[in-house]
């Protein structure tokens, strides 16, 4: 019980940090997967006076450019307007060139604006249709959640780090006598700090165990599964890879905080 009371703040702070990072990472992944899904069906239509290719456009975000064959459309019109006896080839020659522009990444409203401006600067291009309505509400909502998760993560990181520092200061105070004795006998910095670092490592391991349980629960929860079904995507999370990264993060934060606390200590001796 005493152990839990002594360690709860550090474990809680570490779990909060790891959870906020995981949430940010998860929403990032959901947004990315969703972007990939809608990007498959998303193209920008370009109407051009002359033939175009990727090299002529010189844009980074272009995956490839595909010419639209309008013959089929003209034939449809011809079928519907039987009395007019259209000369499809003649009409085709008078019409401009139509292209579908496939992008590498799903554009944000700002990048879409920039893309349109750049394309319109090209004298060969007459008109552009970027189908902005495809940037639907769900996507915008996901972007907002991702942004909120990012801000949340930064705030949690800051507050939790302060909490970790405070807890380590309490421990340093608890162990100050033994650290002082070691210092009097010529113990180097790492030797005196070993007790704090050891406690920090133990708590890092405990917090990893806790965060693993929380993530596993969340990823298998109905709420999360329904969200993915509604978005029409599947997100593959490599929990063990994430945990190894988390362990490194947790260890780095706690050891770094321990060293800060020992460094910041007002010298008791010369």
């Amino acid at each position: 019980m005493k152990y839990i009371r002594n360690h709860i703040f550090l474990i809680f702070a570490l779990v909060s940090i790891l959870f906020s990072i995981e949430m940010y990472y998860l929403f990032n992944k959901i947004v990315k997967t969703y972007e990939e899904k809608i990007l498959k069906n998303y193209t920008i239509i370009i109407v051009a006076k002359e033939k175009l290719d990727s090299e002529k456009l010189k844009l980074n975000n272009i995956s490839y450019i595909e010419q639209i064959d309008i013959t089929k459309s003209l034939k449809n019109i011809d079928t519907q307007l039987q009395n007019f006896n259209l000369d499809i080839n003649k009409i085709k020659n008078t019409l401009p060139y139509f292209y579908k522009l496939h992008l590498k990444n799903f554009p944000t409203p700002v990048s879409l604006d920039n893309l349109e401006k750049t394309l319109l600067k090209n004298p060969a291009i007459k008109r552009i249709e970027s189908f902005r309505q495809n940037q639907n509400q769900i996507y915008n909502l996901l972007l907002i959640i991702k942004l909120v998760a990012g801000i949340f993560m930064i705030i949690i990181l800051f507050i939790s780090f302060l909490l970790i520092i405070k807890q380590l200061e309490v421990w340093r105070f608890e162990h100050s006598e033994r650290m002082y004795i070691m210092e009097l006998f010529g113990a180097p910095f790492w030797f005196r700090s070993a007790i704090l670092i050891k406690l920090a490592i133990i708590d890092s391991i405990l917090s990893i165990g806790l965060i693993f349980s929380i993530i596993e629960y969340l990823l298998h929860s109905d709420m999360y599964q329904k969200l993915l079904v509604q978005l029409g995507i599947s997100v593959n999370m490599n929990v063990f890879y994430d945990l190894s990264i988390f362990f490194l993060i947790s260890l780095t934060i706690s050891v770094f905080a321990s060293l800060i606390v020992v460094f910041m200590k007002k010298d008791e001796v010369l």
Partner: protein
């Protein structure tokens, strides 16, 4: 500083932020000497000892310990110097969460000596002072006399050049005081310089020793 001098103080001023404890005082300690530093309470015995192991900074004057100028010593060199000094306190300063054996081995652990040698040395010294049976006990389970003997063993286990003891028998009865003094004599026989700060000299002492006395902010060499 000559090789035979382990401590040399010249025109030394020491004290705290707003007070001077010793002023314009000079003295020296030779290697292998047994020294008693006497003086009434509050005259500055503890303050001087704290300067000798570098806990406090010299205000003015020159103080050299084991070849290190204490006015200019860096943090890392001070750490190194302390490995050659054994310190004994009136309140023992044993690490209460550690067993006696672990406490005794502390200087050897710091020096990076192998576990095997540490165990052998600790066991040898504890047996020598008939404390082998308490090796696995904790400091709070021991009497004051036993704790002080453990503290002295800790101070000599790494064979330091000098031992500084601040009122080591101040809290002990006559019998325990004698056992503690025997340990200091043993350390001195091993060639270790011993400086003991005490308010009065022991009534019987069968080794030759130097007697320094603090009075009126000065140190006097009595003999």
């Amino acid at each position: 500083m000559s090789n035979s001098k382990i401590v040399m103080a010249k025109d030394l001023y020491i004290g705290y932020e707003n007070s001077i404890v010793l002023e314009q005082t000079s003295f020296s300690l030779n290697r292998g000497e047994f020294v008693f530093l006497t003086g009434a309470s509050g005259e500055g015995k503890t303050t001087l000892i704290r300067h000798l192991y570098g806990e406090l900074k010299v205000k003015q004057g020159y103080l050299n310990i084991g070849g290190f100028d204490m006015n200019r010593i860096s943090k890392s060199k001070l750490t190194t110097l302390r490995r050659y000094i054994g310190i004994v306190f009136q309140d023992y300063k044993l690490i209460k969460e550690w067993t006696i054996e672990k406490n005794v081995k502390l200087p050897l652990t710091i020096a990076g000596i192998s576990e095997e040698v540490q165990n052998r040395e600790a066991s040898k010294l504890l047996s020598k002072v008939k404390l082998a049976h308490i090796a696995e006990k904790y400091p709070y389970e021991l009497s004051g006399g036993e704790q002080q003997r453990v503290a002295i063993i800790r101070a000599i286990i790494h064979q330091p050049v000098m031992i500084l003891a601040d009122e080591p028998t101040g809290n002990l009865d006559e019998y325990s005081s004698k056992l503690v003094m025997d340990l200091f004599k043993l350390a001195n026989k091993l060639g270790i310089t011993v400086l003991i700060a005490t308010h009065k000299l022991p009534e019987e002492f069968d080794l030759s020793f130097k007697h320094l006395h603090i009075e009126g902010k000065k140190i006097y060499e009595i003999h």
